[in-house]
């Protein structure tokens, strides 16, 4: 028994993505939730379940509670609510938990949401503005090892050493994501192209990562609504069916610094992939478009290897020149610009783009999309999601 075709995403909503939203996280969450209700053709009071992001240490908490949203939307009572933890690792897991709930009658319409304002709020995701309380940070923070960029740079240098991947290849990931964002009016980098020269000109933040290897820091919120296929028939949008979804930790997982195992890669995604392919009976060849979690450029080719799209050592070369990952290529990726160039909403904007690809309403629409893969954050326990046409 699997979750296949037992639940679907019927509503997507978001705020604008900006550097200064001018309003609180709660306000943005409510705006995104209302937009998702309108998109679905639902009254907000029909929502009876919610999945919010949990914590990945105090740095990454969703500060907007499900009660904040319920109160503001006029929802009398939520009968199902849960948190998906681990920052960006949670994005696809929110849909997984929502799907389990509606498929088992625990709720009719589940709202999944993420609201964050690292650009203008008090918690900068790229910086140690809060002192984490978890004891394991004692092995990193006292050494000034205090930014997500540096934590992923550490595994990236080793991965480049092991596989021979080059900075040029990482540059191509950034450039292709930017090309997709340039066409997308929602994107922070709408209309602002990037060349390889621009990539190399961007300042080195933490060697081997330049500014253009890192994702955006912005304000915004995204909400999704999950229900059953039966209920979806009476709603406004063509449903995006949940074909499969997985969560995974791996051997010796820590938060962002899983450095004590044999190889410091992204084994959480390897495990999540194994589960996903086993669960669905599908393979990477069945994926028509992929929204790879791209907090940093290297994570895209690393995931291609971890999920079996290519062999280990082939991820970097696959991205070289950009043609194979462009919308016209054999593996189109991050069609809205990804988190490198559209917006960083902890992967929730990538799921929304996956839904648009299934509906056929994306700005950079891939032809004849049967399956979309969306992946969760790396360096942490993570999650994956396959959306499909549900035939």
């Amino acid at each position: 028994m699997t979750i296949k075709n037992k639940a679907c995403i019927v509503g997507i909503g978001s705020t604008e993505f900006s550097r200064v939203s001018g309003r609180s996280e709660i306000h943005m969450a409510v705006d995104a939730a209302m937009a998702a209700c309108h998109d679905a053709g639902l009254k907000p009071e029909q929502i009876d379940g919610a999945v919010k992001f949990g914590t990945a240490g105090q740095n990454c908490t969703e500060f907007t509670t499900e009660t904040d949203v319920a109160r503001c939307l006029g929802i009398r009572n939520l009968r199902y609510f849960v948190e998906a933890p681990w920052g960006g690792g949670a994005c696809c897991a929110t849909v997984l938990h929502a799907a389990l709930a509606v498929a088992n009658g625990m709720a009719d319409y589940v709202l999944c949401f993420r609201s964050l304002k690292p650009a203008s709020g008090t918690v900068r995701y790229g910086r140690p503005t809060r002192v984490p309380i978890d004891a394991h940070w004692s092995y990193t923070m006292p050494f000034g090892f205090a930014s997500p960029t540096s934590w992923v740079a550490m595994i990236t240098r080793r991965w480049m050493h092991e596989t021979g991947a080059t900075n040029d290849q990482l540059g191509w990931v950034a450039i292709v994501c930017r090309e997709n964002a340039v066409r997308n009016p929602r994107a922070i980098f709408y209309g602002r192209p990037m060349t390889m020269e621009d990539y190399y000109r961007s300042p080195m933040l933490c060697d081997p990562f330049r500014m253009n290897d890192t994702c955006l820091e912005n304000d915004g919120a995204v909400a999704l609504i999950v229900t059953t296929p039966e209920r979806a028939k009476h709603l406004r949008q063509k449903p995006a069916y949940i074909i499969g979804a997985s969560e995974a930790t791996a051997w010796d997982s820590y938060c962002m610094t899983s450095y004590y195992r044999d190889y410091i890669g992204i084994q959480e995604m390897e495990e999540a992939g194994k589960e996903l392919w086993k669960q669905t009976g599908l393979t990477p060849k069945n994926m028509d478009v992929v929204q790879f979690y791209d907090a940093f450029t290297s994570l895209v080719p690393m995931q291609m290897e971890a999920l079996g799209f290519v062999k280990v050592g082939e991820g970097g070369p696959f991205c070289e020149g950009g043609d194979r990952i462009r919308p016209t290529g054999e593996l189109p990726i991050n069609t809205s610009g990804g988190m490198l160039s559209e917006a960083y909403i902890h992967g929730m904007n990538m799921i929304a783009e996956g839904v648009r690809q299934i509906r056929g309403t994306a700005i950079t629409q891939i032809k004849n999309v049967e399956h979309v893969l969306v992946t969760g954050g790396l360096g942490v326990p993570t999650s994956t999601l396959i959306l499909g046409q549900g035939r």
């Binding site: 006292p142 050494f143 000034g144 090892f145 300042p203 933490c206 450095y259 004590y260 410091i264």
Partner: protein
């Protein structure tokens, strides 16, 4: 180059905190000793420390003095400041210690970022941070 602290910002030093089972590690650090946790039963090293040996599930654990020697497994070089105490540029190194299976995150006390390479032999040297803490940093083995 190595790491130079901007001591004007010492008040922002992240004081290590420990779970109960990690206390032995940090107490030793305060005495300028680098120790690692080892299972007395199956001899597996456990770093960072744990309440129980994950391998044989024994609670009989001990603190073993490190040789202080290791090889560089990976590293990064901070070129943009994220914390005012740490003057850029500075290196964070991930060291494969001689103790089997132990990897340790630290800073370089001597040398230049461009001299770092995979497998480079390094040894521990304690650097005073404030009145209470000295931290185990590394320097190239001469």
């Amino acid at each position: 180059m190595a790491l130079a602290l901007n001591k004007r910002y010492l008040q922002y030093f992240y004081e290590p905190v420990a779970e109960s089972f990690e206390d032995g590690f940090w107490q030793a650090i305060k005495q300028k000793r680098l120790v690692f946790q080892r299972c007395k039963n199956c001899k597996e090293f456990l770093h960072p420390p744990r309440p129980m040996c994950y391998k044989c599930h024994s609670y009989d654990l001990e603190w073993v003095e490190s040789t202080g020697k290791g090889k560089i497994y990976s590293w990064v070089v901070f070129t943009r400041e994220v914390h005012p105490l740490y003057r850029v540029p500075f290196e964070v190194v991930l060291v494969d210690m001689e103790e089997k299976g132990v990897r340790f995150i630290s800073n370089m006390a001597e040398g230049k970022p461009e001299d770092l390479h995979f497998g480079m032999p390094v040894e521990v040297v304690f650097m005073p941070i404030n009145d209470e803490w000295s931290l185990p940093w590394f320097r190239p083995v001469k």
